[in-house]
Amino acid sequence: MLKKRIIPCLDIMDGRTVKGINFVGIRDAGDPIELAKKYVEQGADELVFLDITATIEKRATLIELVKRIAQEINIPFTVGGGINSLENAARLIKAGADKVSVNSSAINNPQLIKDIADKFGSQCMVVAIDTKLIEDEWMVFMHGGRTITPLKTIEWVQEVERLGAGEILLTSMNNDGTKSGFALNITSKVSDSINIPVIASGGAGLKKHFVDLFKNTTISAGLAASIFHYGEIPIPELKQYLLEQNIPIRL
């Protein structure tokens, strides 16, 4: 049986992780490799590295980092943040990223999804979408959630599926950072409206939130950052709990 995936997300700035400094049991929590290895040991099913480096000049450090991750990590990983061209995506994939994720640049230029999927296959094309409830309508936001777009979330996910996306990473801005649970309603609606897998993000605070996410939904994976970084919910404990709740999980 296909297992539901637990995916920690690591924020990267100038080649260093910017959260997770309180992570127990590693020497240099700023080193993305060391943190990533820890997650692999704990049973993470995949990893997402989100580059939040502000300046283009420093983005070269990301390529070097991706090469090192690919050398050292034996599970799949996605790299996202600032990918705005086919060349850009190609460099990351060549460096060893299994998947790339695009967000704002796909809204500015939807053809980018098709270009990357055609060249490297849908399996490596993740489209990240930030969504927020505005007067009864889930709208798509861009620029890290700072700018509203005219796109309705359900319409946009159907469009990106048509363009060749292989997976959707959906973040509910209403839930992100609240630790009050995932946005089940919109995430389920999104997952049921398309035939590609959906990764839910935003709101995880308790083990129970993952049960709610996976029980009786078609959602494929749950992504979180702070609860894993700060050791609030260790991955082995979460996975054991999910298994006891009859959620299919890899141990």
């Binding site: 049986m1 296909l2 297992k3 539901k4 995936r5 692999v40 099913d45 690919a70 050398q71 050292e72 034996n74 599970i75 799949p76 994939i93 060549k94 060893g96 299994d98 490297f120 296959g121 849908s122 399996q123 490596c124 292989g166 997976e167 035939n195 590609i196 897998p197 078609t218 494929s220 994976a221 890899r250």
Partner: protein
Amino acid sequence: MIAIIDYNAGNISSVQNALKRLGYESIITRDKEQILSADKVILPGVGEASTAMSYLKEYELDAFIKELKQPFLGICLGMQLMCNSSEEGTVDCLGIFNSDVKLFPPKEKVPHIGWNSLSELKGDLFNSMNAPKDVYFVHSFYAELCEETSANCDYIFPFSAALQKDNFYATQFHPEKSAGVGEQILKNFLVL
């Protein structure tokens, strides 16, 4: 030395990285002499089947591969190319395995992405593995079960997760991305 066949398929370096972690050196090559003299040969691959087949033909590797005598491992698309045919781009493949590759029906999410369990394990690749193991899959096309199936996976219906015939081995999943279980399977191949 292990030869990894270079035919413009994606993410070949991840196989090389995995071999290196296990302490094996490898070369990425399409040179026939180098491939012939290798102890083991790996046909990795992420990409589209008909395009990949046309590259194998262009480099005159199609008939050549079938004649190789050393242990040979196809991974993911590499495995699909070793079957009779693929619906992806409607193309005749190498025909090493008597199985046809078809598109999953949209009864569940497609692509089939994530960790899924192996069952009915047979043959050298799965030596010393008994309990059901989870490995990482990412694919939209599957190889039908056939006599050469050496491991099953169930997604919508059972399909070939691994195949074996003579010196030819293949996995639909990615052992190079399947954590410790994948490493064991690669090791089992490397010590053949």
